[in-house]
């Protein structure tokens, strides 16, 4: 008897495994990051996309909220190529200095906030004086065999937040989307917004 029960367990295990696979399979397409992994250094490139929820420390602690929410700057001001190239483009240091020549590290008291000395702006000016580019750490990485044309998406009315999350609220930017293929397809078939329905055969992105 005991023997028979022992053997009866095995198919049960198989069934459980199958169910687990089924459940895990689609979570990538829809899930939102639950944990924010803060790690130092840059993402070691591999064939896979960068992991969701990743939030590496940047050489300069650039506060998106201050620039976007408080000052109301447009994303395209710095990421100037996002609407005309596959590459979004990162701001040149000169772009930063355009303002920060005037806005120095010494920040006066402003609506309630006491005056303070900004270490970040100091760093920025240091880079500028040394004529060095800022070695930003890459956050969003898709494999090399994926072609993601930013301009096509931006011009189609897909907001930056759709894929990058509420960056304007992120004091330290993290990877909002999973960037796996199911996630892309999910939007291309029109599940996110029927108006954004687009071709989703392989050769649209893979060539």
């Amino acid at each position: 008897m005991t023997v028979r029960r022992k053997w009866a367990v095995i198919p049960g295990l198989f069934a459980l495994g199958a169910v687990a696979v089924l459940l895990s399979a689609y979570q990538g397409a829809t899930s939102r990051p639950d944990t924010i992994i803060t790690e130092k250094g840059s993402w070691g490139y591999s064939a896979a996309s960068s992991p969701q929820g990743r939030s590496p420390e940047q050489p300069i602690h650039f506060p998106h909220p201050t620039h976007v929410q408080t000052l109301g700057m447009n994303c395209l001001y710095c990421h100037y190529a996002a609407n005309k190239s596959t590459d979004p483009g990162l701001p040149a240091v000169s772009t930063c200095m355009g303002c920060h020549l005037v806005i120095g590290p010494k920040r006066p008291a402003m609506n309630g906030r006491p005056a303070f000395e900004s270490a970040e702006i100091t760093k920025l000016q240091k880079y500028w004086n040394e004529k060095k580019p800022i070695p930003w750490v890459r956050i969003h990485h898709v494999p090399d065999y994926v072609n993601f044309p930013h301009m096509t998406h931006v011009n189609a009315g897909v907001t930056c937040q759709t894929c990058h999350g509420q960056v304007q609220k992120m004091t330290q930017v993290y990877q909002y989307a999973s960037l796996n293929m199911g996630w892309c397809i999910n939007c291309h078939v029109g599940n996110v917004n029927p108006a954004w329905k687009a071709r989703y055969d392989c050769s649209v992105c893979h060539y």
């Binding site: 023997v3 399979a25 990538g28 397409a29 999973s178 796996n180 293929m181 199911g182 996630w183 397809i185």
Partner: protein
């Protein structure tokens, strides 16, 4: 008192091979002693096992190197994109078939001569399929991505291409492996029980008792066992046909000249059974000699098996001729030029090896003398193995090397990597088989007991048994055997 029939010993005795009795077997205990007695490991056995493992390691090393460097280290010469690996894959799958045929189909047909050889054949099936299963992965450009072929829900949201025969290959091989392994195991249960009861070593005893699923030899268990066995036999019978048909679709479904033929499914199945029986001879003849099992695997059994071999050989031969006929009959210049190239082109010798080994030499089995000559059977079986490997070679390589586009006609020569991996596959197969013959009974104890008459109520002297009791007088050798 009835007369004692004793077989005549003329030059060519006319002994009906239908007689598959085991005259030399006295009692059930003798069966247990003889068969379980073979399980004691010997030095020779360890040597053989060591050699097999060495060969396997050579193959494994070659494969590692191939994965590291890329498939280019093998002899592929585009457009010959499938080489020795696919040839060997089909070869091993084919080997497997005889096992299932003997153990399942012949069981349903109540062909008695299977009794003593089916266990070996079945084990051979399982190990052959295990070997064959490696090759499709081996020949992938990116073996680490082989799971793309398995349909499972994934977050890429894509599935395999179910139109492709290769996907069905995966299913076919896995099914075949599962079913034949189960079949082998179920058949083993009573024997395992017998071994458990005789075993003294505690660990092994425990192991056998777990494996024998607490078999207690009750009538109820026997009834269930018989049903289960019959059911599995019926279940695996279609597999004999389906598996190799699916494998043949890999080729028949493509438009390559020489592949694109409706004949392929039956042709492959026949070839598979033929090659399988060849391999059975290769395996069973040494075993019955070394393990001194001649009294069980009698010459009559081999004789009957040889007839089956002859028959399948004729089927295969017909298929060959048919291929050439269709090649001519199609009227397509491209087909015809291919068939011409097959026999007179760069690989003419391979084609002729195939015809000689698979069609000509087996004809000798028309002679009873040779059918009953184990030495010849063994030699012939070697030729059959060779011939069947070359059959696949001849089907695949010349076709790919001589396709539609003349500009891309080419030659193909395997490299030492191909050969090393081929050797490795034999090592891998032999390793499992050697482990099998020293750990599990090579002859189905229970079934042998079925054809040995039950112990008589009163003890009798050996000689002068009633003929109706089907007991011939004791002879160490079965009559009519020459070797």
């Amino acid at each position: 008192m009835a007369t004692v029939v004793s077989p005549s010993r003329e030059a060519s005795p006319n002994i009906p091979s239908a007689n598959i009795q085991l005259p030399a077997i006295q009692s059930y205990t003798q069966v247990n002693d003889d068969i379980i007695g073979t399980l004691r490991p010997t030095g020779k056995w360890f040597a053989a096992l060591g050699f097999a493992i060495l060969c396997m390691l050579i193959g494994a090393t070659a494969w590692t190197w191939q994965i590291y460097m890329g498939l280019g280290v093998a002899g592929y010469t585009p457009p010959v994109m499938w080489g020795v690996y696919i040839v060997t894959f089909v070869f091993w799958v084919g080997i497997g078939h005889a096992g299932t045929l003997i153990s399942a189909i012949l069981y349903l047909f109540r062909a008695g001569f299977r009794t003593t050889i089916y266990r070996c054949a079945e084990a051979m099936t399982v190990f052959a399929v295990m070997t064959a299963g490696l090759f499709p992965i081996l020949h992938l450009g990116r073996p680490w991505k082989f799971f793309y072929l398995i349909p499972y829900p994934n977050w890429r949201l894509i599935w395999p291409q179910f139109k492709s025969p290769l996907v069905w290959d995966v299913f076919a091989i896995l099914t075949y492996l599962t079913v034949s392994a189960t079949f082998l195991y179920i058949g083993l249960v009573p024997d395992l029980a017998a071994m458990r009861d005789r075993e003294t070593h505690p660990v092994r005893k425990r192991l056998y008792s777990v494996l024998s699923l607490g078999w207690r030899n009750s009538d109820r268990e026997w009834r269930h066992f018989a049903r289960a066995y019959l059911f599995l036999a019926a279940f695996s019978t279609p597999l004999v046909l389906s598996v190799h048909s699916v494998v043949s679709f890999d080729f028949a479904m493509s438009l390559v000249p020489g592949w694109h033929a409706t004949l392929f499914a039956p042709y492959f199945v026949a070839g598979a059974i033929f090659s399988g029986i060849g391999m059975v001879f290769t395996i069973i003849i040494p075993i019955r000699r070394w393990f001194n099992l001649k009294r069980y695997v009698t010459i009559n059994h081999l004789d009957a098996a040889a007839k089956l071999c002859l028959f399948t050989s004729l089927v295969v031969g017909t298929a060959y001729l048919m291929e050439f006929f269709i090649g001519w009959y199609s009227g397509s210049e491209i087909e015809q030029s291919y068939w011409w190239n097959r026999v007179y082109g760069q690989w003419w010798w391979a084609a002729w090896i195939m015809l000689l080994c698979n069609c000509v030499l087996p004809l000798t089995l028309f002679s009873q003398k040779l059918r009953r000559n184990t030495t010849w059977l063994f030699i012939l079986s070697m030729f059959i193995n060779l011939g069947m490997w070359f059959e696949r070679f001849v089907i695949f390589e010349p076709s790919l090397a001589h396709e539609f586009e003349p500009w891309q006609w080419t030659a193909y020569a395997p490299t030492y990597i191909d050969w090393a991996i081929l050797l490795g596959s034999f090592g891998w197969f032999s390793m499992w088989f050697l482990l099998f013959i020293k750990n599990l009974p090579v002859i189905a104890i229970a079934e042998v007991k079925e054809i040995v008459p039950p112990p008589l109520s009163t003890p009798q002297p050996v000689e002068g048994i009633d003929v109706s009791g089907m007991h011939l007088e004791f002879e160490p050798e079965t009559p009519g055997e020459r070797d």
